[in-house]
Symmetry: C2
Subunit: 165 residues, 2 copies
């Protein structure tokens, strides 16, 4: 449930990693991308990304809103939804459809499809490279994919009971 310290292996989110580094790096990256693309990385947007980055759990828009409200940064749903929309639109966060919730992106900056593994026990969400053949088979069917979500729900390594590992 609680990440320890080491350096990040493949699927980001599960297992030990330097989460402080994880956060500061993501914030720095977002900052840089916003400057490069002349996007306004406003206080609300910045704070929402920080909130998402605090853990690898997905947060609902209303969870985020509650945090903002507690800090006097906005108290009505559209404030949260707009900030989250901005973050998703520019690749700093992803929406997890199965949970109606949001997670910070594990490698922002470049556009990419994403695949997620969602632990139904501890709530951690790990982002992986999708490599889905669906893009190819969609092409064959004449379908033009504009966005794709891949989400798997189950048990993360830490939450699998001893006798079933």
């Amino acid at each position: 449930m609680k990440p320890e310290k080491t350096t990040p292996p493949a699927p980001v989110g599960f297992g030990a990693h330097d989460h402080a580094h994880c956060k500061t790096e993501a914030m720095a990256k977002a900052q840089a991308v916003c400057e490069a693309r002349k996007l306004q990385f406003t206080p609300v947007r910045k704070r929402v990304l920080e909130i998402l980055l605090e853990s690898h759990e997905a947060l609902g828009a209303y969870d985020v809103l509650a945090r903002l409200a507690a800090e006097g940064l906005g108290s009505k749903p559209p404030v949260a939804y707009r900030a989250l929309g901005f973050l998703v639109e520019h690749g700093f966060a992803h929406r997890i459809e199965k949970l109606n919730a949001f997670v910070a992106c594990s490698h922002p900056g470049r556009a990419h499809d994403a695949a997620f593994m969602i632990c139904r026990d501890c709530g951690l969400v790990a982002e992986a490279e999708p490599q889905s053949p669906l893009r190819r088979s969609a092409g064959a069917a004449g379908f033009q994919i504009e966005s794709m979500v891949i989400e798997a729900e189950g048990l993360c390594p830490a939450c699998i009971p001893e006798d079933k590992a």
Copy 2:
């Protein structure tokens, strides 16, 4: 020589097909599976499946409910949600997370992952075989997948503008 794929997992939903056959076959299959598993294929459940089968568009629970209500089969949300839950649980329908909506399953009877291509223009939803490598890479990461959704949104062959085909 290139191994041409013939018919097998052609994405069901787009393109011309004998939809009447599509419907009656799916209903017959559901009927048979229910008998085999001693499930109660009640009027409400049957009717909801018929409603979903009327097209390859995804229907929201409240759309389904409106249809039921018009026929005197139930008028409160739980009626629709329960019937849809039954159909999804037993593989006769799928939930499309991106749309908060439901489609009839294109090949019910056997348990299976599903991948969907959702046309944002005409609303048709085609079901394809997923063949996602995520199951393998999840295994490598020690994650036990219990359910998986793959959903691509874009334009179906019929809705792609001439000049971009």
